[in-house]
């Protein structure tokens, strides 16, 4: 008996909590974000200070937030969904949780290949996934592109993380688009054969391993390298100093890049405010902060790069439409399963 009573009590409190939560404040935007709190909250606070519009934030894993959005359907409190990686953005678009953006300012600010199909989302920042090499052991003239990772000459000399990670899934998805599935699978098999150590740890661990001599080549996202270079851990700074970036396939499709992006939910209740927030995120000032705080490249062209990024130099970025990364994701995972890439 006590438990049913208790359950009733909790239902009541839940209702009370729900009521207080839904009694609408003046102007609010509700944001589901796969980008971590520390990397988004400051810019949201700035938005509130400038416009008086409150932003309520819920962070979480991209897939989990998407599942929540789908289940909440028409009753979702979320107005905006921000997620990282084109694969996730594509999945959200396919799931039908977005509605096309109408803000001309926002759409014009971002280059076309960083728009979702039907303008369902726009990119906010770019991260590149080049090859890093140990400067004391590798002559960069030996390198040409991602295909090197599978060549016998680098046997036992390559570090890359697990294929569980979406960055590797997107990279493989892009290669499927450029090379076709057969060649990409052969490449994945060659890569697995070349691994110097099991594909464990994060991107930063691969870089550290290359610096420490475990391998000569490592694949990682640029912002991890940036964090190592600018962080306050002396050992990591030293490790980063031993590595250099090689921008692969510069005469072909270029370096694989990926996005973080944002879309308006289909059932957004605060559409005007939400689009206002997107425009704010695409303003030069926010873009500079948003990109610099995570060592990413701004999505809006002409926004000045952070010093760290400038030091790495210009490169040819793959301008493959981001939608392909999403479309090929499942094929990429299956291919990597077959190649034995753990």
């Amino acid at each position: 008996m006590s438990s049913t009573m208790l359950r009733k009590l909790f239902t009541l409190t839940a209702i009370a909590a729900g009521l207080t939560a839904t009694v609408a404040q003046a102007a609010t935007v509700n944001l589901y974000s796969a980008r971590k709190e520390a990397l988004i909250k400051p810019v949201l606070e700035k938005f509130t200070a400038e416009t008086g519009i409150e932003v309520r934030l819920l962070t979480g894993g991209g897939d989990a937030l998407l599942a929540r959005l789908q289940n909440e359907a028409a009753n979702t409190p979320a107005d905006l969904f921000l997620t990282v990686d084109a694969g996730n953005l594509h999945r959200a678009a396919e799931a039908g949780v977005f509605q096309p953006l109408t803000s001309a300012a926002a759409l014009a600010a971002v280059p076309d290949h960083l728009h979702g199909t039907d303008n369902l989302w726009v990119g906010l920042s770019l991260r590149a996934r080049p090859i890093f090499y140990a400067a004391d052991r590798v002559d960069p003239s030996q390198l040409s592109g991602y295909e090197d990772l599978a060549k016998p000459q680098w046997n036992n000399k390559v570090c890359i993380r697990s294929s569980d990670n979406i960055y590797n899934q997107s990279l493989t998805a892009a290669l499927i688009e450029h090379w076709g599935e057969e060649k990409t699978e052969a490449w994945a098999k060659g890569l697995v054969a070349n691994l110097a150590k099991p594909p464990v740890g994060g991107d930063r661990d691969q870089l550290k391993a290359a610096a420490a001599g475990v391998c000569d080549l490592a694949v990682a996202n640029t912002y991890y390298f940036g964090l190592m270079q600018t962080g306050d851990d002396a050992e990591q700074r030293e490790a980063a100093s031993k590595l250099k970036i090689f921008w692969p396939n510069k005469d072909e499709f270029g370096t694989h890049v990926n996005v973080s992006g944002i879309g308006l939910t289909k059932h957004a209740k605060n559409k005007a405010e939400a689009e206002q927030l997107i425009e704010f995120l695409l303003s030069a000032e926010s873009q500079a902060w948003y990109a610099a705080t995570n060592n990413e490249y701004p999505a809006v062209e002409g926004v000045e790069w952070s010093e760290t990024l400038q030091a790495w130099g210009e490169f040819k970025a793959d301008d493959l439409s981001m939608t392909f990364l999403g479309e090929n994701n499942a094929a990429a995972v299956k291919l990597m399963n077959r190649a034995g890439w753990r």
Binding site: F10, A64, N71, L227, K334
Partner: protein, 556 residues
């Protein structure tokens, strides 16, 4: 009779509601049988599932061996023997419980990785480079087994120790008078007699192992659980993921059957109020016993805690941040609330099962307890599907009747979190309370009733005092588990609501380990309070048992 029927109905209902997320999983498996889409599953079977099974089985075997050897040996040494530091160790050995497994994994990786301080120092000393020397790989299956064993052995320790304390002096004295030394007493008498307790503790540890995602994922060990997430995230196939979860559920049911079977094979009733006099250890034996107990404490708690403390010092400015204290408050409040709720539910179900042991009640209660081994994220998804459906109904009704949209009352609030914790952790408290209830023999109730006690008096005078330790244990185990819980919290929490575990994870996930230090340390510190409470309660019960030696034992 009418009351009993009604009670039976509500019992089953409680169990079913708790089991809802599991039913969602079963449903997706059934769809499979009914000719659903099997293409994902076929692909997975052909490529990765054999490896998942192999790794999961090895992990389970390794952790079982680890927790049994550490848990049982320390439990025996601290109860049956006296050596320097024994009293301190007997409660300190519970401390690893406060350490979330994934946090321990982070700290050991930080310390022992190639670029970490240990290997770097070795290289500096001996002038080695990569490949000049052999060093065990932390991020590996054996690493995961070690970390999980170090964190989970207290379950075995706790439950086995309680049994050792209760073991009858006469049995052991008979053994000693027959010339058995302490070691033989342990091997031939105490150990076989404690088997049910060891199995229960190990089952809890193994269920936790199966549900673990953080540690194995961080260590790059592909298990069933990482496979579930890979299927969901990588292939974008939630159905396929739930189907894998269904297979996991089958494994869990098997595990529980083994546990039940092993307990039914051995039912010893040899409880007495007179504990056996301890063995006094001296000389090298005392030193060896001391070391055997210190090792798991040092590696399971002290070293990781020190690492967290050193990271926290690097980030000391956080401690002055009011938002950080808000996180602490959220975590602690949630833990207390959930612990009380879950224990009340467990009492309700455990008593129901004891007094109305019909097949349907027993089956549904057992079903409700399965959640412990299911990854929190899977439970969260099942629950989300269920609660949002309810919410849509409520909103539709409210709109039709009152022309008012109340929003998501259940799925977007703390209610969902508390519900998820109930599903996930009911088993912990149910097992603990069932064990306690098992000690109260029905004959005691009957004797008291014959003496003219009313049922309420029986509850107050017999059950309450005898059950208190198990209720306390259940409260603490659930509280500490909720404090550490991450995946379900991450998925189900409301807007602008974070916990220490969420913060630590966000930082560590970004490979910012020092930033993860303060919230992780705080989580451990908050978790310490209940663990120390538990330890003290245990110590007290042992002392009072010792005192009772002077009285003539009274049996009901």
């Amino acid at each position: 009779m009418g009351f009993n029927l009604w009670r039976q109905f509500t019992l089953v209902l409680t169990a079913v509601v708790i089991g809802v997320p599991l039913l969602v999983i079963c449903w997706s498996v059934l769809q499979l049988l009914g000719g659903g889409d099997t293409s994902t599953l076929t692909h997975l079977w052909a490529t990765v599932v054999p490896e998942y099974i192999r790794n999961s089985v090895l992990l389970l075997l390794g952790v079982a061996a680890g927790v049994i050897s550490i848990g049982v040996s320390t439990a025996w040494l601290t109860t049956a023997c006296r050596f320097p530091g024994q009293r301190f160790l007997s409660w300190a050995l519970l401390l690893p419980l406060a350490m979330p497994a994934y946090i321990t994994a982070y700290t050991y990786t930080g310390m022992l990785d190639f670029a970490g301080p240990v290997q770097s120092t070795l290289r500096d000393w001996f002038g080695w480079g990569y490949g000049d020397y052999w060093f065990p790989q932390v991020r590996s299956l054996s690493g995961a087994i070690l970390v999980l064993s170090l964190v989970l052995f207290p379950y075995v320790y706790l439950i086995t120790r309680a049994t050792f304390i209760q073991q009858s002096a006469t049995t052991l004295e008979a053994g000693r008078s027959l010339g058995l030394n302490p070691w033989q007493c342990f091997l031939r008498l105490a150990l076989p007699l404690a088997r049910p307790a060891i199995v229960t503790g190990t089952t809890l540890a193994l269920m936790e192992t199966l549900a673990d995602y953080g540690t194995v994922q961080y260590f790059g060990v592909t298990t069933f659980t990482t496979g579930i997430f890979r299927t969901w995230y990588g292939l974008g196939d939630l159905q396929g993921a739930l189907q894998l979860a269904g297979m996991l559920l089958v494994a869990v049911i098997l595990l529980i059957f083994i546990e039940r079977w092993s307990r039914s094979q051995a039912r010893y009733d040899q409880r007495s109020n007179r504990p056996a006099p301890p063995f006094q250890l001296t000389g090298w034996k005392a030193i060896a016993a001391s070391i055997a107990c210190w090792l798991p404490l040092v590696f399971g708690f002290l070293l990781p805690a020190l690492q967290l403390a050193s990271w926290s010092l690097e980030r000391r400015e956080v401690w002055a941040d009011s938002a950080f204290w808000q996180l602490t408050f959220n975590s602690f409040g949630l833990a207390v609330l959930a612990a009380v709720l879950v224990v009340i539910m467990a009492l309700w179900l455990a008593y129901g099962r004891r007094q109305l042991p019909t097949r349907i009640v027993r089956t549904s209660v057992a079903f409700a307890g399965l959640g412990y081994a299911i990854p929190g994220l899977v439970i969260a998804v099942g629950l989300m599907v269920f609660l949002t459906t309810l919410d849509h109904g409520i909103i539709a009704l409210s709109k039709a009747w009152f022309d008012y949209n109340p929003g998501l009352l259940l799925s977007g609030t703390l209610f969902a979190l508390l519900f998820a914790y109930s599903v996930r952790f009911l088993s912990v408290s149910l097992q603990t309370i069932n064990a306690g209830l098992g000690e109260i023999r029905p004959s005691m109730d009957e004797a008291a009733r014959i003496q003219g006690y009313s049922p309420l008096q029986v509850l107050r005078k017999i059950h309450l005092p005898l059950l208190r330790p198990s209720v306390l244990t259940a409260l603490i185990l659930v509280g500490v588990d909720v404090l550490k819980e991450l995946p379900a919290t991450l998925v189900l929490r409301p807007f602008d609501f974070n916990t220490l575990a969420v913060r630590a994870y966000e930082m560590a996930g970004d490979e910012r380990l020092p930033d993860a230090g303060p919230p992780a340390l705080m989580m451990v510190l908050v978790g310490l309070i209940p663990v120390i409470l538990l330890s003290r309660a245990m110590l007290k019960s042992q002392q009072s048992a010792l005192k009772e030696q002077e009285f003539v034992p009274v049996t009901a």
